[in-house]
């Protein structure tokens, strides 16, 4: 079977897109879950500060999300642009 260079590159770009998004989703998922868990624990300790704790949780999760978004961007670039 003759493999053309363009086909091989496109195939590897697809493979890269999947691997990038798949592996890239592991960290943010675990990290954000940990933040959410600790926030629940904190609210159990200081229920009167629930608003502040929830806000802090969301800010922290947004920062943690950023690496997942990098993976998404790279995956989309690999699929549509490269």
């Amino acid at each position: 079977m003759e493999i053309s260079g363009a086909d091989f590159i496109r195939g590897m770009a697809f493979l890269g897109a999947g691997v990038a998004m798949g592996l890239g989703a592991i960290g943010p998922g675990i990290g954000e879950g940990f933040v959410a868990g600790k926030a629940c624990e904190a609210i159990g300790k200081r229920p009167d500060e629930a608003g502040l704790i929830t806000r802090t949780m969301l800010v922290g999760q947004a920062v943690s999300e950023s690496t997942g978004i990098y993976s998404l961007v790279i995956a989309l670039l690999l699929i549509f642009v490269v």
């Binding site: 940990f34 704790i53 993976s71 998404l72």
Partner: protein, 323 residues
């Protein structure tokens, strides 16, 4: 090499994948349960009979994930349908990977509530019934990802895929197995964390068994969503028949759709489970704050699940966009 040779070889490879990967989780989970049981007996040697009974019940549930994997292995070795297409060979490998990987998380996860129930039996011997009921409920739900894996493995094995073109059908069949198999790891493990804390909480505060079980079931259900995405992509890869193409690009995009969703579901599953675990640590202790904790837990889980949704979108693009 003719089709029959390839199919026989694939059956053996699939059987090895299934029971090989499938044995990891249950063994680790049961070992954890036995370890905590030993620790519990050291606190109160007189309760050893009750602790061992609880341990064995919990271990039996954790074992079921490995038994599913054994069943799929046996079918691959000695039974199953008698198809003759090359695709059946690829489906055998896919089914083995699917069931084997899917059993890791559930086996490991179900061991955690079993261990906590042993500890609970020692802390509050009088209410060990409530602790054990919570443990049974939690462990049973923890097995769901493994059951998804079993269902998809059966679909791979018992449906005739000969209408699918071998190129790129082989990639779709392997990808379906990987998507479901890898995708089940996170949810199974995460559910174990959540159920473990719920069991320990009920042991500490037996009067809170009702509300705690309710919050636990919701938390387990939400953490299950990433395994469901894996199942969904697996079904899509099985039932969306691809156009025949010998291009590497077409095989790669179907295979990678499964890899993307599979790995992408691991993190959110574990993360949602951790969020549920901490929430269930607090719910039995602070019943009056249950509403607030529950709300924050759900918001946190939704955010933690977002990366699984990204992986779902990328997988769907890879499957559908270039059809």
């Amino acid at each position: 090499m003719d089709n029959e040779t390839f199919i026989t070889a694939s059956r053996y490879l699939g059987a090895a994948f299934s029971v090989g990967f499938g044995a990891i989780g249950a063994a680790l989970g049961e070992g954890y349960a036995a370890g905590i049981a030993s620790e519990s007996i050291s606190y109160k040697p007189k309760a050893s009979r009750e602790v061992i009974t609880t341990m064995l019940i919990g271990q039996a549930i954790a074992e079921s994930a490995a038994i599913f994997a054994l069943v799929v292995s046996m079918i691959l070795l000695f039974g199953g349908p008698d198809f003759h297409s090359l695709n059946f060979g690829w489906a055998c490998i896919g089914a083995g990977l699917c069931m084997g990987l899917a059993a890791i998380g559930s086996g490991l996860g179900a061991g955690i509530p079993a261990g906590q129930a042993c500890l609970g039996t020692v802390i509050q011997p009088a209410t060990s019934g409530k602790t054990n009921t919570t443990m049974l409920l939690g462990s049973a739900v923890t097995q769901t990802p493994a059951i998804f894996g079993l269902v998809l493995a059966f679909l791979l094995l018992f449906l005739d895929h000969s209408n699918m073109p071998v190129y790129p059908g082989w990639a779709a069949l392997l990808g379906a197995g990987l998507s479901m198999g890898l995708g089940a790891i996170g949810s199974g493990l995460g559910n174990g964390f959540t159920a473990g804390e719920a069991v320990y909480g009920v042991a500490r505060n037996p009067e809170q068994v009702g509300p705690t079980s309710m919050v636990m079931l919701v938390a387990l259900g939400v953490a299950q969503s990433s395994a469901i995405y894996g199942f969904l992509i697996g079904l899509m890869l099985l039932f969306v028949t691809p156009k025949e193409s010998i291009l590497i690009a077409d095989s790669a995009r179907l295979l990678t759709a499964g890899i993307c969703m599979g790995f992408g579901a691991i993190g959110p599953g574990i993360g949602s489970g951790i969020a549920g675990a901490y929430a269930l640590k607090e719910v039995p202790r602070k019943p009056e704050e249950r509403g607030t904790i529950f709300r924050v837990m759900l918001i946190g889980m939704a955010v933690a699940g977002s990366t699984a949704v990204y992986a779902l979108v990328i997988s769907m693009l890879l499957i559908h966009y270039f059809k």
